[in-house]
Assembly symmetry: C2
Homo-oligomer: 77 residues x 2
């Protein structure tokens, strides 16, 4: 059965406080080459068959909040 990988990320214009915390922690650990970090969700769905329209609907209805988040998806297996 196909596996669909859905990536949900905060819209670029919005402040990502969790990402900022991660970037700060990396800097404290000595990873000064990191200038910023942004954190999103990765959802792997096992589906009977891949239908992009259905996946889009899942994203709009449940997996992402389209007001503040962007999403993309691809079949990985």
């Amino acid at each position: 059965m196909p596996i669909v990988r859905v990536a949900v990320t905060l819209k670029p214009s919005l402040l990502d406080s969790a990402g900022r915390t991660v970037a700060g922690s990396l800097d404290k650990l000595g990873f000064h080459e990191v200038s910023s970090a942004r954190i999103g969700k990765l959802i792997h769905l096992e589906v009977d068959r891949f239908d992009p329209e259905r996946i889009k609907e899942m994203c709009e209805k449940l997996l992402a909040n389209p007001v503040i988040e962007d999403y993309s998806f691809e079949v990985v297996e």
Copy 2:
């Protein structure tokens, strides 16, 4: 500056309760084609230069918990 995308996922042998909840919710919404869902983290790091050894170290030390999570990364920009 390069953007590195780090994917952190729960090891396949472990029960993903959040993923199970998402799969159950999708089923209730009528998306019966979804048999399972697993949820992970997606971290975008903006770095001065890409050094896979350094990214690996960041994953081992902060971004992932190697006991229960797998990680992978790639340069996306």
